[in-house]
Amino acid sequence: MNKLNANLWVFNIALFACSAFLLYSYHSSPEMPEWYLVICFAVLAVCLLIAGTWKIIKMWISAEEKYMKTIETFLVIAEEKFPHFRGHAERVAQLTQMVLNRLKLTNEEQSAIEYAALLHDIGKLRMPEKLLKNQCYLTREEVQLMESHPETGQKLVGRISGFEHVAEIILCHHEKYNGSGYPRQLSEENIPLGARVIAVTDMFDNMVCRHGLKFQQACAELKNLAGSDLDPELVDTFLGAIVDSYNGGVFEEKIWASAGENEEQCGDIVQQLRNYLDKSWVLGNLNLSYVILYEKNEFKSLGNSAVPEAIVNNFADCALKGFKTGTCQKEFIIDAATGKIFNSYFMPVSGDSCLIAVFDMTDVLKSEKDREERELLIYRDVMLAVTQGKLLLVFGNEIDRYVNEGIVSGEMNLVEPQDVAAARSMIKEVLNAYSISGKRKTQMVLCVSEAATNVIKHVGEGKIRVNILEDAIRVIIQDNGPGIDISQLPQVTLRKGYSTKLSLGFGFSIMLDFLDRLIISTQNGTVLILDMALNTEEESVKMPGEEVMAGHHAC
């Protein structure tokens, strides 16, 4: 804005100087008619006005262009990083152009849509890299994050003035024709035309270049999606355009040239291996810290950095003696001061000397832990999805929230087999105060019997509590046992009567069948929560903040 002001200022001075000069020349030759002066003045003023305004506009355009260039550069960088994005934006832009040429649009509208096509995935720039690489298994949180890319894109592009419409199209490019898309669940004509066109071309490019569908297969798939995900009229227009260009040979030569290059690169086995190594989280986090020569009871660092005393002092005598027998030794060292964990290898060189390689394992172990947690989250999502939201695994302190919810209406210890019957009596008495059908009561009693039996059978001791919630009766069964092997849960949930072994399987299939919700926490002992809804028979328990994971995610 400062530059604009400065420009206006220069322009004003120029105008002022001109008028001063003209006034002077008129003054020095008074025989000139007055209209001549007026015309001169007016022409000059207009010229100056145009020149000045032009300069301002030009500057404004160049600022826009700079910003656009920056965005495009980012886009190219992003595409370079993630092979399956490569050339995607450009191909979608070209396909979009083909469709637009068959629609009667104003130039303005057409260019806005073309820009939107080029920039539609720009919001993915803000996504963490690992999310874009691991396309197959995403947790619910990650799906949510991925689905925010249209909004992020809108914000990025919305900054350019005059691009408001482009930003709007980008925001809507994952909306579906039947209203099941995101972020705003718009449907039919409520979705901007540009976004509907890009939905078609984006889908087509993903099918062909990412999922490897043949041309005809992709066309057939698009037809299937017409009316549900995609605008049927635009699908027809697109297919008309693409078939013409396919028959004309344009399709393969021009548009798919860049995709073809990709395939060749991926076909290179060395490249594949390199890609694989690049992705390896172990190798990525493994650092060789020190190489030490041990000779005559002395340690000599072979690298630039000195070996900290803490490490040297921790080398166990047995490892230092062991190598003398000619065998390699390995040892873990934990540096209490820094909290770092090292893995050291002792390789004998001669009878009384050895080489010691010290690897810093801290990051490897940390990423292993992160990975485990990630897998647990994915596991939780999958279990929640396959049980239609019935079975929820919770980790860490999360369980406290569920245990402490509601009013305690009964509690007892589970110590001996007879206590299972006592637990059944307890839940019977609580249920009798509510208008629930006899069948449902019997089912809840059975579930309590199963859970209590598990404690007596597998742990020996525990406790059971009944909480009354606003809309459900909750039974909480706790023990300090070794925990449930949650890897058994899929078989239990997916196969009824999973019963080769009379342990976990039986009780769990009963509980999953009859309860509205089953919550399991199995770290540091087991907490099992059984929920039965109170209000109506069909209504399931409200699930605070938990939704069944979104399905397959097409980008």
């Binding site: 019957a421 039996t453 009824k496």
Partner: protein, 123 residues
């Protein structure tokens, strides 16, 4: 929560009730032995059931389990039944199960007992 329901907080005492009882009565009808069960079949009583069958099975060609008085069964009880019936079949004893209440049969069905043993066993 409905206003007319009072929930008092207290510690449940097992002596308040709910002791599993299972009575097994053995009668003879011709060559058949009839085991009539009365009560509940769960972790506390399943061993008693197994012992009763073991006592009664000697030299028997046909055994009938009459479940008319069985008010409750859970997966532990079903597991016990399954093992007993399998072991009887192994000794070529014909087994029939009769007078199964709807509630008990629902549990059998859920755990796949009719599939594991064959539906013809339930008369």
């Amino acid at each position: 929560m409905p206003a007319d329901i009072k929930v008092e907080q207290r510690i449940w005492n097992p002596s308040n009730g709910g002791v599993t009882v299972l009575k097994v009565q053995v009668t003879v009808e011709g060559e058949d032995k009839i085991l009539s069960m009365d009560g509940e079949l769960d972790i506390a009583t399943v061993d008693k059931f197994k012992d009763s069958v073991d006592e009664a099975r000697q030299g028997v060609k046909r055994m009938v389990l009459d479940l008319a008085g069985l008010g409750f069964v859970d997966s532990t009880g079903v597991g016990g039944l399954l093992n007993v019936i399998k072991s009887l079949k192994k000794d070529n004893v014909e087994v029939k199960v009769r007078n199964v209440s709807t509630e008990v049969y629902d549990v059998f069905d859920l755990l796949g007992l009719p599939i594991l043993l064959g539906k013809e066993i339930f008369s």
